[in-house]
């Protein structure tokens, strides 16, 4: 892992030299600060409380390639099958960390749905106002992302506007001879009373290891509503660390749905800061992994203002030698009275070799609050199984049905019908069942 850190340290100098004319900008000062932080902390180890159950070594042992040539390798025909819809969405597509205009559908009409590089070049005042304001340099992965921040999605919805179509953000990695390292950096700003739906996916087309370290900052102004979907269905050689920080002002609503259905190593760090009264955050999570995959959800909800609501429900199904980790932190600041925070984590362990580590963590400094959490680890209900078998349903189908029912509570939260069907299909594929009817 030291080797990879060394590569990163030397790459930063190369990266700096490529930035013509940007060196004096506020953003670059931020990059330098973040870089110093990363240099100081290095990669976390299992001795860090936040990484107690998550072993990074197998991921960072590879000597990843940091810079990729800008090639237009991916054709529309090949990329098309990953699109939710050909025309009914806005699309921001990246290939090997570069913006792929031939695959994207962006707009500057009414609202900006474009790229992080466009933000830096065209709206430097917005960049100065928002970028780096939420992300904490104390975390080495976010610091590393900030240091190399160059490309990603940028969405700006002005006050009182509703984005008429869902926005898809797709990150492709094309086949490479070497392990590839990607660091997308995104910014989402939703003005007062605006609304948007965002779907985020990372797709690796390479047979070699791909490691993505993504960071996103999301600002929801008063009354804004964001439906955010993270669909993680990557193949076995792909790893992802996703840090997303949300700041919610009064009356704003965040609905975050994370479906982790694949990938060698998936770590989600959603941090939600409820900074004004009456803000609401709903986090739904579904995990279904097998073989030696690992999925880690480290959520952090910070109730800073009184009268806010948060609600978390994470469900996981673990087969093979997979490892599931859930750490749900709820922090209630002094004076954040009338907070209502609910958290639940349910897990099903399917095999002898699978491991589940879960740690709900409440830190409460106010007295007039309602906070509760619950978590369970168990198996499938034998009675339900027996009931289905008795009615002539084959064992594997009965099992898949029960698992789908378990997952249903999360899947049904997906508002977009196409996406809901898609997640169900992938989920059933993971259970090796193809129901010949539409569930």
């Amino acid at each position: 892992m030291e080797a990879f850190k060394e590569t990163l340290l030397s790459s930063f100098i190369v990266f700096e030299n490529q930035l013509n004319g940007q060196k004096k900008s506020e953003l670059h000062k931020l990059r330098q600060k973040a870089f110093e932080a990363f240099e100081k902390y290095g990669f976390p180890t299992r001795k860090d409380e936040d990484w107690k159950y998550t072993n990074l070594k197998p991921i960072i042992k590879h000597d990843y390639k940091i810079f990729h040539p800008k090639e237009q390798k991916l054709q529309l025909d090949e990329a098309r099958k990953y699109f939710l819809s050909e025309t009914d969405t806005y699309r921001i597509v990246f290939v090997d960390g570069y913006y792929a205009s031939w695959l994207s559908l962006t707009t500057h009409h009414q609202y900006d749905i474009c790229t992080f590089s466009a933000l830096i070049n065209r709206y430097p005042e917005i960049a100065d106002e928002y970028v780096g304001k939420l992300i904490n340099h104390g975390d080495s992965f976010t610091a590393l992302n900030t240091a190399f921040a160059r490309e990603g999605a940028y969405i700006f919805v002005p006050d009182n506007k509703i984005v008429d179509k869902p926005i898809e953000i797709l990150h492709f990695t094309t086949p490479h001879a070497l392990p590839a390292f990607q660091q997308p950096r995104s910014l989402l700003v939703l003005g007062k009373n605006s609304r948007a739906t965002v779907i985020e996916r990372h797709i690796s087309l390479s047979a070699n290891p791909v490691f993505t370290n993504s960071a996103t900052e999301v600002f929801l102004h008063t009354g804004a509503i964001l439906d955010h979907y993270k669909i993680q269905t990557d193949h076995y050689e792909a790893s992802l660390i996703d840090n997303t920080v949300y700041q919610l002002q009064g009356y704003s609503v965040l609905n975050l749905t994370t479906a982790s259905l694949g990938g060698k190593f998936v770590r989600n760090n959603p941090i939600v800061k409820l900074i004004e009264s009456m803000a609401e955050a709903h986090l739904w999570g579904l995990t279904k992994i097998d073989s030696s995959e690992l999925a880690d959800h480290h959520t952090s909800i910070e109730h800073i203002a009184p009268h806010c609501q948060s609600n978390e429900l994470y469900k996981g199904i673990f087969g093979g030698r997979s490892t599931g980790i859930f750490n749900g932190k709820v922090y209630v600041a002094p004076h954040a009275q009338k907070t209502n925070a609910f958290q639940q984590n349910n897990n099903i362990v399917l095999s002898d070799k699978a491991t589940v580590n879960t740690k709900p963590q409440l830190e409460i400094f106010a007295n007039d609050v309602k906070c509760s959490h619950g978590c369970t680890v168990g198996q499938m209900d034998e009675n339900a199984m027996f009931y289905l078998r008795q009615r002539g349903i084959a064992a594997d189908k009965a099992r898949a049905l029960l698992l789908l029912a378990f997952a249903g509570e999360i899947v049904d939260k997906i508002q977009l019908p196409e996406l809901r069907q898609y997640v169900k299909r992938i989920f059933n594929q993971k259970n090796h069942i193809d129901f010949d009817f539409d569930l």
């Binding site: 740690k359 400094f365 007295n367 619950g374 369970t376």
Partner: protein
């Protein structure tokens, strides 16, 4: 709010200091001090070596930093590691006990005579680390039960002590366990032979008396196959201005089919209402369950400025059961980081955790627990519940439950809630003629009822009084 002010500012009731002539070693810790302690207690050679080895281990260790508590680190070289009341002469009856000491017990409301006669509880009185008085010993001896001070056990039952001491909490376990192993002054030893059901509740009173002395108790309870014992431990410490350190180790061993019930009421001096003084309580308690055995921990924690305590069960044998019932109350500037560890290794092992935390004033109360299901623990079952109650807007309640499951047949459930005493509840009581103070008493006792009901009768009454004293009137 007036009542809140009045009660949360009520001073420690047990703050008095008994002037006893103490035999003290100079402050500081080195191998000579350890040899001195060991020699003073006429210990055999193996024990001296065991202590020295522990001291060497301790020197290589660091104080743990991970707990959710903030305090000024004690200076381990400024503590006197041994203090015993100077033996005047061998005591044969209660009348010969230092009258000052008897007064102390009367002030605490625990009269030895009364307890002896009325409740049938044998009390092994520990004042500043040396057992002064042991009652009912002969009666227990008839059944083959050994209940004596640790120093006596080392002398008289060396082979038993040697066989079990340090097997559940090894010297290398943690910083404070290593320190305790090196310098422990006294404590209790209890052995219940095969198939014997101990007819009385065994009880010890710990007191920290001499100013500036640390108390390092060592308790070892061994329940042989098919036996049963209920062990009570209660603590009060007089009021002193400087912080006092307490690092005890308790080891329980339940052999096949045995059952141990270990109850604690802890109301050491918590410091005054500005957070000065108070006892630092760093305790390692752990029990080992063999096949078909059961260990049950019940604790009511209302004292100490800092509490760092995790009574644990290692469920090694098949069908063994671990239980943990706890009420932790913090007030003023108290900080508590407490909880349990249930380590399931055997098949069909079961554990239950009920933890109730009450925080008031400016205190911080944390629950930290671990439920670990090992890969061979088929059909393991755990239920955990941790509820917190907050009184006032300057206190904090935190939970850190770790759950690690490596077996698909395990069933693990955890739930936690945080709440306060509702104004509607108080109003309901007031309406029915119950004054606010009593109403809060009622609600707090109701909140803690599941745990209090696990305590033996004698303790349950005291525990309820303690809760009332610590908290009444605190409306959020």
């Amino acid at each position: 709010m007036e009542i809140l002010e009045k009660v949360t500012k009520s001073e420690y009731k047990y703050g008095f200091y008994t002037p006893l002539e103490a035999d003290k070693v100079p402050p500081g810790l080195n191998e000579d001090i350890i040899r001195h302690i060991s020699a003073k207690k006429n210990e055999p050679e193996w024990m001296t070596e065991w202590r020295l080895e522990a001291y060497r281990i301790w020197q290589t260790m660091q104080e743990p930093q991970w707990a959710n508590i903030r305090y000024k680190k004690p200076d381990f070289q400024a503590i006197s590691y041994y203090a015993a009341p100077k033996p005047k002469k061998q005591l044969n009856s209660l009348e010969e006990v230092d009258p000052e000491l008897l007064k102390t017990f009367q002030k605490l409301g625990i009269s030895i005579e009364e307890q002896k006669r009325l409740t049938g509880v044998a009390i092994d009185v520990v004042v500043d680390s040396v057992s002064v008085k042991t009652t009912f010993k002969e009666k227990l001896a008839e059944l083959g039960i050994i209940f004596c001070s640790m120093s006596e056990a080392i002398r008289e039952h060396g082979d038993l002590v040697r066989r079990y001491l340090g097997t559940v909490v090894p010297r290398t376990d943690n910083f404070y366990a290593a320190l305790n192993s090196a310098v422990f002054s006294d404590g209790s030893f209890c052995y219940i032979p095969k198939g014997v059901r101990c007819p009385v509740e065994l009880s010890t009173y710990f007191r920290i008396n001499e100013a500036g002395t640390g108390q390092f108790e060592r308790t070892l309870v061994v329940a042989d196959e098919g036996s049963y014992v209920s062990y009570l431990e209660g603590c009060t410490a007089p009021m002193r201005d400087e912080n006092q350190l307490h690092a005890a180790v308790v080891e329980l061993i339940a052999l096949e089919g045995a059952e141990i019930k270990y109850s604690t009421v802890q109301n050491w001096y918590p410091g005054d209402k500005d957070g000065n003084g108070g006892v630092f309580n760093f305790v390692t308690k752990r029990g080992l369950c063999e096949r078909d055995s059961k260990i049950s921990w019940t604790q009511v924690e209302t004292g100490s400025a800092i509490t760092w305590k995790y009574p644990s069960c290692i469920l090694k044998g098949d069908n063994s059961v671990g239980e943990f019932y706890s009420v932790a109350v913090t007030n003023h500037h108290q900080q508590a980081d407490t909880g349990t560890k249930m380590i399931h290794l055997g098949r069909n092992t079961r554990s239950t955790i009920i933890s109730k935390g009450i925080s008031a004033g400016r205190s911080q109360n944390s629950y930290r627990g671990l439920v670990k299901i090992g890969p061979r623990a088929i059909n393991a079952r755990n239920f955990s519940q941790c509820d917190s109650m907050l009184m006032g807007d300057q206190c904090g309640a935190h939970t850190f439950p770790y759950i690690e499951v490596e077996n698909p047949t395990a069933k693990v459930e955890h739930e936690a809630t945080t709440s306060k005493i509702g104004e509607d509840q108080i109003f309901y009581c007031n309406q029915r003629g119950i004054p606010t103070e009593e109403a809060i008493n009622l609600i707090v006792n109701g909140f803690a009822k599941e745990v209090i009901s696990q305590l033996p009768m004698e303790f349950a009454v005291e525990a309820q009084k303690l809760l009332a004293v610590s908290l009444e009137g605190s409306v959020g």
